[in-house]
């Protein structure tokens, strides 16, 4: 059989990887790190030039399906890992055919939940992780994606201005529909409830979970948060014709939650005294899109919110609120944002993403100002942050690990 590599970015170095060896036996020299856990399938991280790739060995048709699914999800702008390619036609030295490999790009600065739990978690961090997962699930469901295997293991987390943003890692069981039925959404939530509780119980059994954290409560909180958000985004509202301000109010509320309203249905009852509004199409990324348009910076939703606030503050402080927003943004980028992010010594750039560092510097300035009782210039805050805070942070650019410490159930028979 001939080796067949399908990829959106042809890269000849791919050919140098030892495809005729079962993934489990790849020599360490190719590997960026060994996975920590045992995943359902064999997964390895390899270094290819400047980037790290995750390689997963699975059946040919499943590999194709997942590759196509991940590409669709990227197209829909859903936070998910980036598919890199599929390798078919692998043959071992003895002529035995080997399973296909699905290749995805490692998501920089992402953290598996086990890595987060192995650090000293602030009590509210667990809550923020669950919030992030609920947001991801709502976004997936809005696009008609039924996940089928919602779990912490199948999710990666990125820091997002003190909160987290969740990314889908595994789309193997997923299905894309035009619209999800309530039953499908319920089923996903049910799977989430069981899997998350199971994963947290496992952490507890391994001694990684703080004693006061109750796996059931935590997993139930995801569902609760999901419902709140889902209702806020899709729920129908009725009010008197005179209360038309409530239309704008609804849109503003959705914007605050980080969503844009692309389509809103508005109907009146027969008498014309009541208005009924239902958002039909909502799009995540309200703040990040605005920041991208103004500055070209592509960052997390909360980071964008934070940066936009600082931009507003800059406009106010420089008395330029009436000026063209794009020009002010350009100046802010050149005079504030870039000097801060560029001032980070090279050896510390792998600790946090630039936007996250900027967010932390702003936080740091706030604390310093509070302590001093007066405003601290950002230059001072930056100097102090780089000297005292950042060096103590762990390197997070490439935290690898499959971290689904789960066992292959259907692997081989005795």
């Amino acid at each position: 059989m001939t080796l067949e590599i399908t990829t959106a970015r042809p890269e000849s170095a791919l050919l140098d990887l030892p495809w005729s060896t079962p993934l489990e036996e790849w020599p360490e020299s190719y590997l960026a790190a060994l996975p920590r856990g045992i995943s359902r399938h064999v997964v390895r991280f390899v270094k290819l030039g400047p980037r790290v790739l995750a390689v997963k060995e699975i059946k040919d048709d499943i590999a194709d399906r997942e590759y196509a699914m991940l590409r669709n999800l990227r197209r829909l702008d859903v936070p998910s890992v980036e598919p890199f390619g599929v390798v078919h036609g692998r043959t071992a030295a003895d002529g035995e055919p080997l399973d296909a490999c699905l290749i995805t790009r490692h998501l920089q600065f992402s953290l598996p939940y086990r890595a987060l739990y192995s650090q000293n978690l602030r009590p509210d961090t667990a809550v923020r992780l669950m919030d992030a997962l609920a947001v991801l699930l709502v976004r997936l469901h809005l696009e008609g994606f039924w996940w089928g295997d919602v779990s912490l293991s199948n999710t990666l987390f990125r820091r997002d201005a003190g909160a987290f943003a969740a990314y889908l890692v595994d789309a193997e069981t997923g299905e894309l529909h035009a619209r999800l039925s309530d039953g499908q959404r319920e089923h996903d939530l049910d799977i989430a409830r069981v899997n998350i509780a199971g994963e947290l119980m496992d952490l507890a059994a391994g001694g990684f979970l703080e004693e006061h954290a109750d796996p059931f409560e935590v997993s139930a909180s995801v569902i609760e948060r999901y419902h709140t958000l889902w209702n806020a985004l899709t729920g129908t509202e009725r009010f008197e014709v005179g209360d038309r301000w409530r239309v704008d109010e609804r849109i503003r509320r959705l914007n605050e939650l980080g969503f844009d309203v692309d389509e809103l249905s508005m109907t009146t009852d027969i008498g014309g005294t009541e208005i009924v509004i239902t958002p039909k199409v909502v799009d995540a990324g309200h703040h990040s899109r605005r920041l991208l348009r103004l500055t070209g910076l592509d960052v997390g939703e909360n980071q964008a919110r934070r940066l936009l606030n600082d931009l507003d503050a800059y406009a106010a402080a420089t008395d330029r609120q009436g000026d063209d927003e794009e020009i002010v943004a350009h100046d802010w980028l050149a005079k504030i944002y870039e000097p801060v992010t560029r001032a980070v010594p090279r050896e510390l750039t792998g600790r946090l993403e630039p936007a996250e560092i900027f967010h932390e510097v702003l936080e740091h300035r706030w604390y310093m100002s509070e302590r001093a009782g007066h405003d601290t210039p950002i230059e001072d805050a930056l100097r102090d942050y780089v000297a005292t805070v950042l060096p103590a942070k762990p390197e997070e650019k490439a935290v690898l690990g499959v971290d689904t410490e789960e066992m292959p159930v259907i692997s081989r028979f005795d």
Binding site: I38, G148, I191, A197, D202, G206, F216, E406, V409
Partner: protein, 367 residues
């Protein structure tokens, strides 16, 4: 445990002119293992999901026992999708791995332990209950995963292509395990597959679907011996049944001068031609050059038997499903004296072993 009834159940997606499942009627007995099978897009998975509560039902009803579940949410239906997520947790004992979902559901500790122990007995896992999954073999781990579904003691098990990501050998082993486990538990089970061999070996009954319409629902034996129409005839059985269009004559149908007897009353209203089906094992070599002339292209020797794949002037109907595209004439012959490649042979159906279908409607004619 319970019966399951699809009562004119229909699912039509918005914007799609044709229903994905059209007026499905099946009554599944308590404890029965029913397999839904058909080519992709036939509606088998949709039917299962309608039962699970994952697809809206646009028409008709679905009952579990006497309860109309048509509009209930998945978790209120007391059904369990098996193998959906079969992750095991390494720090938890085998017993906890099996029982933790019950804990979430609020079942009390003593009851959980009781159900886990019962399931462990059935699954031969009793000695391992207090160990960690790491200590188990692959097969045992898989049984733990099955245990997770069993301890929930649902009224119905639902399985959607659970073996699709296994290689051929594992598939056969797991197939046997699931079938024997289901029989021991006696829980009503609905199982979806595209593989007719899987369907025929596992199901008490098999329901064949095509284009959202139920073609036939019968025991594997009955389905094999009495396919209700040309589609089922071509779909069930491997290698596939030979299907050909032949003229009707006095007292039967004509096969190159050889008259295959068919009851006169059955042929009363069928027109000039019918579709004749003969399974490869129901053919015999003719000594007098009557019957279907076949030129042997390939001989597949299997020891006691041999299959010959040949070509014939006789026009053959294309087979369906996974047999699609397989249009050679296939016959099973004595493996000790098979014809050779290139030979011209004459084949006749064994008496009473033909299937006759209306050439227009495709429906079976006679018994």
């Amino acid at each position: 445990m319970a019966t399951v009834t699809f009562d004119n159940a229909t699912r039509q997606y918005p914007g799609n002119p044709i229903p994905s499942v059209d007026k499905l009627n099946i009554e599944i007995a308590d404890g029965e293992f029913l397999v839904l099978v058909g080519p992709s897009g036939c509606g088998k998975s949709t039917s299962l999901r309608m039962l699970a509560g994952l697809e809206e039902v646009n028409g008709g009803r679905i009952l579990i026992g006497d309860r109309d579940v048509t509009n209930l949410s998945p978790k209120d239906r007391d059904v369990a999708m098996v193998f959906q997520n079969y992750a095991l947790y390494p720090h938890m004992t085998v017993a906890d791995n099996m029982g933790f979902a019950l804990k979430i559901a609020g079942v009390d500790k003593a009851e959980i332990r009781k159900r886990v122990e019962e399931a462990a007995k059935i699954l031969d896992l009793t000695p391992y209950l207090d160990r960690k999954p790491k200590a188990l073999s692959g097969g045992q781990r898989q049984r733990v995963a099955m245990g997770r579904a069993i301890v929930r003691s649902p009224q119905v098990f639902l399985m959607d292509e659970p073996l699709s990501n296994l290689d051929a050998k594992l598939r056969v082993q797991t197939r046997t395990q699931i079938a024997s486990l289901q029989r021991r538990l006696g829980v009503t089970t609905v199982y979806v597959t595209h593989d007719q061999v899987e369907a025929m070996t596992m199901g008490d009954r098999v329901a064949v679907l095509k284009d959202g319409i139920l073609q036939q629902c019968d025991s594997p034996r009955r389905m094999y011996d009495h396919p209700a129409n040309v589609f089922v005839a071509g779909f069930i059985g491997s290698p596939a049944m030979n299907l050909m269009e032949v003229p009707v004559t006095d007292g039967g149908v004509d096969l190159h001068g050889h008259t295959v007897p068919v009851a006169r009353e059955d042929l009363a209203n069928v027109g000039k031609n019918v579709t004749l089906g003969v399974r490869p094992e129901d053919l015999e070599l003719s000594s007098d050059q009557s019957g279907i002339p076949v030129t042997v292209d390939v001989v597949e020797e299997l020891g006691a038997d041999a299959y010959i794949y040949g070509s014939t002037e006789q026009k053959l109907l294309e087979a369906t499903g996974e047999n699609a595209g397989a249009v050679p004439f296939i016959a099973r012959v004595d493996g000790r004296r098979p014809p050779e490649k290139g030979d011209k042979i004459y084949l006749k159906p064994k008496s009473g072993h033909v299937h006759v279908f209306n050439a227009e409607s495709g429906l079976r004619v006679g018994d």
